[in-house]
């Protein structure tokens, strides 16, 4: 047992395994990273009317996001001021107020304490005004996507998103009506590994040829005409991502830990009439030039650090919820482009199912690999490496760096950001540091 300072856990192209396995480091992440950043809460379409609410978690804290009577969105911490019970048990719903199931303390949609039973039992100066549900310090939305931050201070949402606000634009701009709705359902899956394993994987083009070899091989390779996106197209796209293609697809990484990788070679066949109607609707709204620009954005996955991923062209987001150092939950939401023909929504559903259902022909291999990586790193501590593409990164035109698609640039960027958050006021903490 030796001690490594936080600052020593990330060294150039190598990272110590304790960042994945150590419970004390996880606790520090909750405090230093998750309690400070902007995290995704929900989409406004989930809570259209006053009283509508959905549950979410911020840095492990249970939160209820509720539409207020004036149309604003508030995020309340789901813990009764009286004796600590959760005041709201539902994942979503509509309420006029939240009444604690334990002793009946009752709160308004804005979290104000409006009723306490047995008032005669309390001192005359017992002040309800001070005892509301705590509110998430800051809530802000960009184009319907609602974020919260437990920190009262810090960059505002747009400054935080920086160039990666474009991930939201990339989805919403594709909607002929200019809006998207979270109506395509949610997949939920957990794995016995650290959240960072998932975030790395989302920017990793070097893995599909190996991790997803069985899906690539199982995809049909016939050239029969397609009229709709099929599962095999998605499986085969991974197989088509060879070295030369990855080189061209590229990756880019930005301050704050954000990044994206270029699009997969995924052909998205559509019935001709639907495609024409879609394009026409976009042109009517934006004109030819802007439509070509919108449809020309070529990204597969964009990451808003630390735990949000957009697959905008296929109307999917992934919300990663770190639970423990060795357990992570993932929520995959499917959105609908409002104003687009129904075929577009069906293609999005097909994509989300194929790539991210619990029974997905792709995801399941990743989950098995995360579980095993976690077990191996716990049992055999040491260093892991992110050296691919090192030295080949060049500045891009938005203040970031870019490299070939197979580069581990995005992971290096994630860890550089991780260290920035984690080492501030850092002292040494005990971690298992085996000599290698």
């Amino acid at each position: 047992m030796a001690e490594l300072a936080i600052a020593d856990l990330v060294q150039g192209d190598r990272v110590h395994t304790s960042v994945y396995t150590d419970a004390a480091i996880f606790a520090r992440e909750q405090e230093r990273i998750f309690a400070r950043v902007w995290l995704y809460l929900c989409h406004e379409s989930q809570i259209p009317a006053p009283g509508d609410f959905v549950a979410a978690r911020l840095a492990g804290v249970p939160v209820v996001v509720a539409r207020q009577r004036d149309g604003a969105v508030a995020a309340l911490i789901n813990r009764c001021a009286h004796r600590g019970a959760a005041v709201c048990q539902a994942e979503k719903g509509t309420a006029q107020r939240f009444r604690c199931p334990y002793h009946g303390w009752t709160y308004g949609l804005d979290g104000r304490l409006v009723g306490v039973p047995l008032r005669a039992g309390y001192a005359p100066d017992f002040d309800l005004a001070e005892l509301g549900l705590k509110r998430v310090a800051r809530v802000a939305a960009y184009r319907g996507f609602v974020f919260g931050s437990l920190a009262a201070e810090g960059p505002d949402l747009m400054a935080y998103l920086g160039p990666m606000a474009s991930a939201i634009d990339d989805m919403v701009d594709r909607a002929p009506d200019g809006t998207v709705e979270a109506v395509g359902g949610v997949h939920k899956h957990g794995f016995h590994g650290n959240w960072k394993l998932q975030m790395e994987n989302l920017q990793d083009y070097a893995h599909p040829a190996f991790a997803h070899e069985s899906s690539n091989a199982a995809a049909r390779t016939d050239d029969r005409p397609r009229t709709e996106l099929e599962e095999d197209d998605i499986m085969a796209a991974n197989a088509a991502s060879d070295f030369a293609w990855m080189e061209r697809a590229g990756t880019a990484a930005y301050p704050g830990g954000h990044s994206y990788i270029g699009a997969l070679p995924l052909n998205q066949p559509m019935p001709a009439a639907a495609e024409a109607a879609y394009r026409q609707a976009l042109v009517a709204r934006h004109g030819e030039a802007r439509t070509a620009e919108i449809l020309g954005v070529q990204r597969h996955v964009a990451i808003v650090y630390p735990t949000l991923a957009f697959q905008s062209a296929l109307q999917q987001i992934k919300v990663i919820v770190p639970v423990r150092a060795d357990y992570t939950e993932v929520y995959v939401h499917c959105f609908r482009l409002m104003g687009a023909p129904p075929e577009y929504h069906r293609a999005a559903v097909t994509f989300v199912n194929t790539a991210n259902a619990p029974a997905s022909l792709i995801l399941t291999d990743d989950l098995a690999i995360y579980d095993r990586a976690q077990r191996s790193m716990k049992a055999a501590p040491g260093w892991v490496r992110f050296a691919c593409g090192l030295g080949r990164d060049v500045p891009d035109n938005q203040g970031g760096m870019k490299g070939p698609g197979y580069s581990e640039l995005a992971m290096r960027n994630q860890f550089a950001t991780w260290l920035d958050y984690m080492r501030e006021e850092s002292g040494a903490i005990p971690v298992r540091a085996a000599a290698e």
Binding site: G184, V186, A359, L361
Partner: protein
């Protein structure tokens, strides 16, 4: 077929279907489905629409074939070592055939799976639409499995229930 005869035939068919999966005879299992047959595991109770809302499984025969080709691949990492599962079928209720001969069946399913060193229990209610098939057997038009924890947090699933 008389009602007791029909119920017995349906039960025998459901047991055989479960055993084909238990024995990993996936190709023979797929052959039980009609050409337009569907295997569906909804993502929530009372889900009505598999096309505009995501599903845990929503397989036509082509997708079943892809899934099976993958299960036969030597480097399907989630199935190394190969999983083992036992399915129990019970509470079989059979409605009289409709005018087209379609038999609606309800049953419950328990599947216990051993994979990657862990044992997992799955429970579900199954709704079947069975078409009359050769030699008194059936072909499956729909097998819908409503897991008791459909809305819950899942780990990876590699084989059909």
């Amino acid at each position: 077929m008389s009602e007791p005869g029909l119920v017995a035939a349906v039960a025998a068919f459901l047991y055989r279907e479960a055993r084909l999966l238990d024995e990993r005879r996936f190709e023979e299992w797929r052959d039980l489905f009609a050409e337009d047959g569907v295997y569906w595991v909804p993502v929530r109770a009372e889900q009505e629409d598999p096309l505009h809302e995501v599903s845990i499984f929503y397989d036509d025969r082509a997708m079943m074939a892809a899934r099976i080709r993958r299960l036969r691949h030597p480097r399907i990492h989630a199935e190394i070592p190969e999983s083992r599962a036992i399915r129990s079928v019970g509470n079989i209720e059979v409605a009289p055939p409709d005018a087209e001969g379609v038999v609606e069946v309800r049953s419950v399913l328990q599947m216990t799976e051993f994979r990657d060193g862990s044992q997992t229990a799955y429970h579900g209610r199954v709704a079947w639409q069975l078409l009359p098939g050769p030699e008194g057997a059936f072909r499956i038009r729909l097998k819908r499995v409503d897991l008791v924890n459909a809305e819950g947090m899942h780990h990876g699933m590699t084989v059909p229930f």
